[in-house]
C-alpha cells in the first residue's frame, strides 16, 4: 500500500474511531443511567430522549477556577427536534474576585415556518462575586431583549438593562432610572446560573448541603432554597474507562426540583428540571 494511502486511511480510521467512541459513549450513558436507577426514570427519561442526538464532551482536565462552559438547552416539549437554546458561562478569577460572564440565547420564533432570520430572546451580563468560603455576590449588570438573530436592535422596545449591587442583606437594583431594594433573609445569596459554580465547589469540597437565597434572572429574589448532595453514580465504558457523577438537588421556593450532575472532571455536565435539561456541550 502506498504511504499516502496508508496515512490517509489511518487518519480516516482514527477519526471514525473517535466518532464511534463518542457515539457509543452516548449510547452507554443512556443505557447505564437507566440501569442505575430503574425505579425512578422520571428524571433520567428527560436525558434519555436527548442522548440520541447528544455527544458527551470528554476533556483532559477542567480548571474550576477559570473556565468556559457551554450548554445546550433542551425542552422536553420538543426534545429530539432541536435545542431550545444555549447557555455560555465564562469564569475568570482575579485574586479574591470572580467575574462571571453569561450569555443565554433562547429560540423565540414559532418554529413552524422556515424563517431566514428568526427571533431569539437574548440575555447576557456579568456578575462579580467575591470568594471567601463560597462565592458571594457583589454586583451585576445585564441586558435582555427579543431581537432577530441577525440584528442587535430590540424588537418592539422589549429591551431591559439592569444593574445591581449587594450591601449586607440588601440588594439594590436599578432599571430605567428606577431603583428597588430587595432584602434576602438567609445567610447566603447566590444567583441562578452561579449555582453551577457553587455545585462544582461543593462537589470538590464534599460539601453535602447548603441553604441559600437566589437572585433569579437578575431582578427577582427567592428566599429559601436548598442544595443537597443526593448520591454518586459511576458509569463504566470501554475497557477501563469510567465517568463518575455526583448528583445535587436544588429544591425550595420557586424551583421545580432541579438536579445538577457533576462529572468526574468536576464540571456540571447536566442540569435537569421539570421540562428542561441543560447538557454540557
Amino acid at each position: 500500500m502506498e504511504r499516502k494511502t496508508f496515512i490517509r486511511n489511518s487518519i480516516l480510521l482514527g477519526c471514525s474511531m473517535v466518532v464511534s467512541l463518542r457515539y457509543s459513549l452516548a449510547s452507554v450513558i443512556r443505557e447505564e443511567l437507566l440501569r442505575l436507577n430503574p425505579g425512578n426514570h422520571f428524571e433520567l427519561l428527560k436525558l434519555y430522549r436527548i442522548f440520541e442526538r447528544y455527544e458527551f464532551p470528554l476533556t483532559d482536565k477542567f480548571d474550576r477556577g477559570s473556565y468556559d462552559l457551554s450548554y445546550q438547552a433542551w425542552n422536553m416539549y420538543n426534545s429530539g427536534d432541536r435545542p431550545a437554546g444555549s447557555l455560555m458561562l465564562e469564569k475568570r478569577t482575579n485574586g479574591r474576585m470572580n467575574r462571571f460572564s453569561f450569555h443565554i440565547i433562547r429560540n423565540a420564533d414559532n418554529g413552524q415556518v422556515d424563517k431566514s432570520d428568526p427571533f431569539v430572546y437574548d440575555v447576557k451580563g456579568e456578575i462579580i462575586a467575591s470568594l471567601v468560603q463560597l462565592p458571594r455576590l457583589i454586583s451585576w449588570h445585564g441586558s435582555s431583549m427579543i431581537r432577530r438573530r441577525s440584528s442587535d436592535v430590540p424588537y418592539l422596545m422589549t429591551n431591559r438593562d439592569i444593574e445591581g449591587s449587594v450591601n449586607g442583606h440588601n440588594l439594590v437594583l436599578t432599571e430605567a432610572g428606577k431603583t428597588k431594594t430587595m432584602v434576602y433573609h438567609g445567610n447566603y445569596l447566590n444567583w441562578k446560573w452561579g449555582i453551577i459554580d457553587l455545585v462544582q465547589l461543593m462537589a470538590e469540597q464534599s460539601n453535602n448541603s447548603l441553604r441559600l437565597s437566589v437572585l433569579d434572572e437578575l431582578d427577582m429574589l427567592y428566599q429559601d432554597q436548598s442544595l443537597v448532595f443526593r448520591n454518586s453514580e459511576e458509569l463504566k465504558y470501554g475497557e477501563s474507562e469510567s465517568l463518575a457523577f455526583k448528583v445535587y438537588d436544588l429544591t425550595g421556593d420557586g424551583v421545580v426540583p432541579t438536579s445538577y450532575w457533576v462529572d468526574n472532571y468536576g464540571r456540571v455536565a447536566f442540569i435537569v428540571s421539570g421540562m428542561e435539561a441543560y447538557m454540557i456541550h
Binding site: N110, L156, T158, M220, V228, P257
Partner: protein, 464 residues
C-alpha cells in the same frame, strides 16, 4: 395623566386554581388548599391593593374554548370553540379587533394565545398572527419554565420603554402552572412523576384534599388518574412551585407597570383550574370547583377599590370583554354575554346582577351556578353523523359541520347538584334527593331561558 384612558394589562395564567394565591388563606381555611403551601408575594400585593372575586368562573374549563370566550365575550357554541384546536368563528371580533375598530389603543399580545387552530403561540406575521394584535414573539415550546420569563421579561421591557401618548392594551399569556400536565403518564405517555419522595421533601409536600377519594358516576369522566399517595404529593408539590414561578413573572409585569406615571388597569385571571388531586382528578375538562373556579383580580390604585375580597358576586370570563371595553370608554361588541364589572370594582352601585353563571364543558355538559347551588347536566350525542366536525386536508384546523337537524343531544340521567356554600369540596350529590327537585326544576329553567334560548350558534369555524 388627565384625559387619557388607562392602559390595560391582562395577565392570563394557565390552569391556576383559585386557591393558589397565598393571600387567600382566610377564604380557604382548610390546610389542604394550595394557599397554605405557597409564597406569592406579588399576587398577594394585588389582592391587598385590588379587588378580588371569589366566585369567579371560567366559561369552559379547557384552554382554547375558555380563551375563545374570554376574548370575545361569547359562549363556546357561539365562538365555535367547544374544544381545543378549532379557532374562533371569523364573524366574531376578538378583543384586539374590537379595540382596533372602536378605540385608539395600541394592542399587543405576548405569550400563549391558543384561541386559533392547533397552535398556541402567535407569529408576528402570516396565518398564525392573531388578528387585531401586534405580537411579541417568544417561541413555541409551550412550557412555562421555558416561555414565561421571556413573556414577562419582553413585555415588561415594552411597558417600561413605551412613551406613546396612545394607551395600550397588552395581554401576557403565561403558561404556568400548565407544565404540570406533562407529569401525567396516562395522558402524556412516558412523562412520569417521581414514584417516591425522590427529593426527600418529607413534610414540605402538602396533604391530599379531603375529597380526594370522592367519586361520582359520571358518563364522561375526564382526567382521572390512579397515582400512589407519593405521586399525588409530588404532583401537588411541583404544581405549587410552578405557582411560585408564575408569581415571580407576574411580579415582573407589575413592577414594570408601577414604573410608569400613567394609569394601567391590571387584570389577573386564568383560563381554568387544575384537578389538584380533588376527586382524584388532574387537569381540567370537568365541572368541579377545582376546574371551573379561577382567580380574578383587578388592580388600579386610586380607581379600583383596595383590599376587597368579594364572595357575593358570581362572575365569569365572559365579563372580562365588557369590563375592558367599559374602562376604555367604548361599547361592548353586539350580543356580548357578560356584564361589565367596572362599577363593582370601583365601589359604585351596579345596574347588573351577578348571581348566575353558565359553563360549557365540551359539547356534552352544561353547568349552572346560581346562588348557593351548582347544577350539572350531561347530554348524550346520538346523531347519525359519525362526528360533528371534519379535519381539513392540511391537517391544521378543523371545520365544524353546521347543524342540519341530524345532530341530536339527549339529556342523560346522571346530573349533579351541590350546595357550594355548605359543601365546597363537593362531596354530596343532591340531584337524586326529592327535597331538591324544585331547585333542579328552577335551574333547568335558568339553563333554558338564560342560555339555550339566548345563544346564537356559530356558523363558520375554519378561521385561525
Amino acid at each position: 395623566m388627565k384625559g387619557k384612558k388607562p392602559n390595560i394589562l391582562i395577565i392570563i395564567s394557565d390552569q391556576q386554581n383559585i386557591d393558589a394565591i397565598a393571600a387567600y388563606k382566610s377564604q380557604f381555611k382548610d390546610k389542604a388548599y394550595h394557599c397554605h403551601w405557597i409564597k406569592t408575594p406579588h399576587m398577594d400585593k394585588l389582592v391587598y391593593k385590588g379587588y378580588s372575586f371569589m366566585e369567579s368562573h371560567c366559561v369552559n374549563p379547557v384552554s382554547g374554548p375558555a380563551r375563545g370566550s374570554l376574548f370575545t365575550g361569547r359562549y363556546s357554541v357561539e365562538t365555535g370553540m367547544f374544544r381545543n384546536n378549532i379557532g374562533i368563528d371569523k364573524l366574531l371580533p376578538n378583543m384586539g379587533q374590537w379595540f382596533e375598530s372602536n378605540a385608539d389603543y395600541r394592542r399587543l399580545y405576548c405569550g400563549k394565545w391558543h384561541a386559533g387552530g392547533m397552535w398556541s403561540y402567535p407569529d408576528v406575521e402570516g396565518p398564525r398572527k392573531i388578528p387585531g394584535f401586534e405580537t411579541i414573539p417568544v417561541g413555541v415550546t409551550a412550557t412555562g419554565d421555558y416561555n414565561d420569563f421571556q413573556v414577562a421579561g419582553a413585555l415588561s421591557g415594552f411597558i417600561r420603554n413605551n412613551t406613546d401618548d396612545k394607551p395600550f392594551l397588552a395581554v401576557a399569556g403565561l403558561m404556568n402552572p400548565h407544565d404540570i400536565c406533562y407529569w401525567i403518564p396516562v395522558l402524556w405517555g412516558e412523562r412520569l412523576v417521581a414514584e417516591d419522595d425522590h427529593f426527600n421533601l418529607q413534610d414540605k409536600r402538602p396533604p391530599l384534599p379531603p375529597n380526594h377519594d370522592i367519586d361520582f358516576e359520571e358518563p364522561f369522566a375526564h382526567s382521572k388518574v390512579d397515582y400512589t399517595t407519593d405521586q399525588w404529593k409530588n404532583y401537588l408539590y411541583d404544581y405549587q412551585r410552578m405557582i411560585e414561578r408564575l408569581d415571580t413573572d407576574i411580579g415582573r409585569l407589575v413592577e414594570a407597570v408601577e414604573s410608569r406615571k400613567d394609569d394601567t388597569l391590571i387584570i389577573v385571571t386564568s383560563d381554568h383550574g387544575d384537578g389538584a388531586a380533588r376527586h382524584k382528578r388532574v387537569q381540567k375538562w370537568h365541572p368541579f370547583e377545582q376546574a371551573v373556579k379561577v382567580p380574578l383580580i383587578f388592580y388600579l390604585p386610586g380607581k379600583v377599590k383596595e383590599h376587597v375580597i368579594d364572595d357575593t358576586n358570581i362572575v365569569t370570563g365572559l365579563d372580562i370583554m365588557p369590563t375592558v371595553c367599559d374602562f376604555a370608554g367604548i361599547p361592548s361588541p353586539p350580543n356580548c354575554r357578560g356584564n361589565s364589572l367596572k362599577d363593582i370594582v370601583e365601589g359604585k352601585p351596579s345596574s347588573t346582577k351577578h348571581d348566575l353563571v353558565i359553563c360549557e364543558i365540551l359539547n356534552t355538559t352544561r353547568m349552572v351556578r346560581h346562588g348557593d347551588f351548582k347544577y350539572v347536566k350531561h347530554y348524550r350525542y346520538s346523531g347519525d353523523r359519525e362526528k360533528p366536525f371534519v379535519r381539513k386536508s392540511d391537517g391544521i384546523s378543523e371545520k365544524f359541520v353546521q347543524c342540519d337537524g341530524r345532530e341530536r343531544y339527549e339529556v342523560m340521567d346522571k346530573s349533579l347538584l351541590f350546595n357550594i356554600k355548605e359543601d365546597p369540596w363537593e362531596t354530596t350529590n343532591l340531584a337524586d334527593d326529592p327535597e331538591y327537585s324544585a331547585i333542579i326544576k328552577k335551574l333547568d329553567e335558568v339553563l333554558a331561558v338564560d342560555y339555550e334560548q339566548v345563544v346564537i350558534p356559530g356558523t363558520n369555524y375554519d378561521r385561525n
